[in-house]
């Protein structure tokens, strides 16, 4: 089986380790990985801030970049939700505004082929034990777009629970938003910081060494707060934990 990786712009520039982890993980599970170089940002920052017209070229670009790939896998529930839920809406609106049906068709063709990483692992590959080894105490924050947008449910937790050596502790108030919210973090910095501070306080209170998530944007916000507070708690993307094995432990 082959899958195309949609690495997302945030991971590409700031968290390449997450992308590398996805490649190693999928290859370990026998999936050949393609990386279409024409991919870019999914357009969510623009769209969520109200700039739908600025988003359209990126919808077109993403759809073209992944045309012909049966499975598109991305380590971001947020970007997956953008493509699955909002691309078709953007396409339909363009059509309704008399700008043709091309965008709507491209979006409709792409949306069902996009999988968030844990969906791909659990639903398509049918695995929960990916053979990972990570001997640390971990707590998991489910990001909102994955949780409510995609309905990931307990897939991430099941994957984590199957990791050898990993001690998974529940995060109190796990399903509450961390306060990142894209441009919300910049437009409403005080509320965003208050929400994030409550989240890292809850995470630190679990005694975990690692705060794990499946969206690096939320982790950038929480990690930034943790480092400013000189907390020993570190943030890690789920993919990096799943990629870690006894032979090749996460450095």
């Amino acid at each position: 089986m082959r899958a195309a990786l949609f690495v997302t712009c945030v991971n590409d520039a700031l968290y390449p380790r997450t992308g590398i982890a996805v490649v190693r993980l999928l290859e370990r599970l026998g999936v050949g990985v393609d990386f279409p170089a024409a991919q870019s940002c999914c357009g969510q920052p623009q769209y969520n801030t109200g700039y739908r017209y600025e988003t359209e070229p990126l919808v077109r670009r993403t759809a073209r970049a992944f045309a012909g790939h049966e499975y598109v896998v991305t380590p971001s529930g947020s970007c997956a939700a953008m493509i699955r839920q909002h691309y078709p809406r953007i396409g339909r609106k363009a059509a309704a505004e008399g700008r043709g049906s091309e965008l709507a068709e491209a979006a409709a063709a792409l949306a069902p082929r996009v999988y968030e990483l844990t969906e791909f692992l659990v639903d398509v590959l049918g695995v929960t034990d990916v053979g990972a080894h990570f001997p640390h105490t971990v707590t998991y924050h489910p990001s909102c777009h994955g949780l409510r947008g995609l309905g990931l449910g307990d897939r991430p937790r099941r994957l984590l629970a199957a990791v050898k050596g990993l001690d998974l502790v529940e995060l109190p108030g796990a399903e509450e938003c961390c306060g990142f919210g894209g441009t919300f973090a910049v437009k409403n910095p005080d509320v965003s910081t208050a929400m994030g501070t409550d989240k890292i306080t809850a995470a630190a209170g679990t005694g975990a060494q690692v705060l794990c998530g499946a969206d690096n944007s939320c982790l950038a916000h929480l990690g930034g707060l943790l480092r400013r507070a000189d907390s020993p708690l570190r943030t890690l993307h789920l993919a990096e934990i799943l990629a870690s094995t006894e032979e090749e432990p996460l450095s």
Partner: protein, 500 residues
């Protein structure tokens, strides 16, 4: 045209949401009050909802009834008018707040009275009726316990259902002690902060008002078109006192509150109490059709009934394909109680009688996006979706927020006072728009993107700890993510590139 809607208290000088929220975030007492209250009620709601196996079907049915009614609103309103009139009531139509206030003021004046008792009502708060009556020399007494606290405290409500949610018991005791005597029976001395003591003080104070009042003003949770029946749901019984004791009853109700048949109430009498106060059954549900049950003869109920049907931006909202779903709202406030932003910012930051997620989509539609506060409300959300998840009529609040953000950032078509207009983008988005365009140009050219990433990687040792401009908001409280030495793209090219 980006003008502020005229008919509604528009908080014209109200600061943008982020500035208004800043104060609330820093108020430790307020945050503790709100956190405690919202968490308690959201947990109870979840339990009450989980008890019903058919919740999803009830939710879908409520949505369907509301959507159907809104689609045929003209027909159902006329049917309602006919039924109310046949039952001895008088129907008045008010296009905006000014007209509604004028109608109510004249109706009160005609009775010769100088005071009214009020049932808790969002519609009359929306139009600023108390202030309008006061200007006309008529005193309006709120009788809902929380509304009384807010009114005595010269405060504004901060929650749809629990208007004094931002106050704790000690604060309420202080308000009762210092203010009750100015308006009627003083608070008993000594007065502690035990809820029972506080409720008793309010009960004694209000009893005088109930027994004296000749005129009552209410809203309604529902209006039944086929029978002309008005429905009020409340928890204390104070509303029922207002609805049954005075001789004249004036009800001011938003036109979207109509439902076609009496049977439709079966849905909402299940979903509303469980969503709002986590109660299986509503404690006081009062229904009246035209005059009192005895039509003015013996028994309870008013001998004169006036229904003021309020538009105030609702038909304009109805004209909007995406935004119209906000009119499904049954004011249960489940979205407020679950919203992490409301929990930190408090209700006052929303600059409207409708705070929280529903306020963030309702106010900018009813009032237009012309004012600073209204242009900032669509951004007062992280789009986490918790509000949509709990909404008993399935209003996709995140979808409407995005729709309104687009209106603010890019302008577009809207309806104002029944006229289709094209709105210009709201002020203050020029720099943001330029940044979004620049980002799009960069992101749409992977070659340029890669060059940018490499430049960033090379300069990463120079990365400042604090950013200037808009980025400052990030670095004031958070460390920046470190830029990777090599982007994923570059790693892929080095390690995996296999020109296929």
């Amino acid at each position: 045209m980006t003008g502020t809607y005229l008919g509604m208290p528009a908080f014209p000088d109200f600061p943008a949401f982020p500035a208004a929220a800043r104060e609330a975030v820093r108020d430790e007492v307020l945050r503790a009050n709100l956190r405690h209250a919202t968490h308690t009620i959201r947990d109870k709601r979840a339990g009450a909802v989980a008890e019903l196996a058919d919740w999803d079907r009830l939710r879908a049915a409520g949505k369907a009834v509301k959507d159907h009614t809104l689609r045929h609103l003209d027909r159902y309103l006329l049917q309602l008018e006919e039924a109310v009139t046949a039952a001895g009531g008088t129907v008045h139509w008010a296009a905006d707040a000014d007209e509604a206030n004028r109608i109510v003021t004249e109706l009160v004046r005609a009775t010769g009275e100088r005071e009214v008792v009020k049932v808790k009502s969002m519609a009359t708060q929306e139009i600023g009726l108390n202030e309008a009556l006061e200007a006309a020399g008529i005193a309006a007494y709120e009788t809902d316990l929380a509304e009384l606290i807010v009114q005595l405290g010269h405060d504004r409500p901060s929650h749809i259902l629990v208007p004094a949610i931002h106050r704790n018991r000690a604060e309420i005791r202080d308000v009762f002690r210092t203010e009750m005597a100015h308006w009627g029976r003083p608070a008993p001395e000594p007065l502690g902060d035990d809820p029972r003591e506080l409720a008793e003080a309010a009960r004694l104070h209000l009893r005088e008002k109930f027994l004296r009042a000749k005129v009552a003003v209410s809203g309604a949770n529902f209006m039944v078109a086929e029978t002309g029946t008005m429905v009020v749901l409340e928890s204390e019984g104070n509303g029922r006192m207002c609805l049954t004791l005075p001789e004249t009853l004036i009800s001011v109700v938003g036109i979207e509150k109509v439902v076609p048949t009496f049977r439709d109430l079966e849905i909402f009498l299940q979903t509303l109490p469980r969503s709002s106060t986590a109660e299986r059954m509503n404690p006081y549900t009062t229904m009246w059709t035209g005059l009192g049950p005895s039509r003015g003869a013996e028994g309870d109920g008013p001998t004169a009934f006036h229904l003021v049907l309020l538009d105030n931006g609702r038909t304009d909202t109805l004209a909007d394909e995406i935004g119209r779903q906000a009119l499904r709202c049954i004011r249960c406030s489940a979205c407020l109680n679950v919203c992490p932003v409301y929990e930190r910012a408090g209700g006052h930051a929303y600059g409207s009688v409708y705070p929280g997620p529903i306020g963030a989509i309702l106010s900018p539609q009813l009032r237009g996006t012309g004012s600073t506060i209204d242009a900032s409300l669509p951004y007062a959300s992280t789009l986490c979706g918790a509000c949509y998840e709990v909404c008993p009529v399935a209003i996709d609040i995140p979808e409407v927020l995005l729709h309104l953000r687009e209106r603010v950032a890019q302008g577009g078509p809207a309806t104002r006072s029944g006229v289709r207009v094209t709105l210009r983008p709201a002020d203050g988005h020029t720099a943001e728009r330029a940044a979004m365009r620049a980002a799009r140009l960069l992101l749409d050219r992977p070659g340029a993107l890669r060059a940018g990433e490499r430049l960033l990687a090379r300069a990463r040792r120079l990365a400042p700890r604090r950013l200037p401009g808009a980025g400052r908001a990030w670095t004031d409280s958070r460390e920046l993510p470190t830029v990777a030495a090599q982007s994923f793209r570059d790693w892929w090219d080095r390690e995996r590139s296999d020109p296929r």
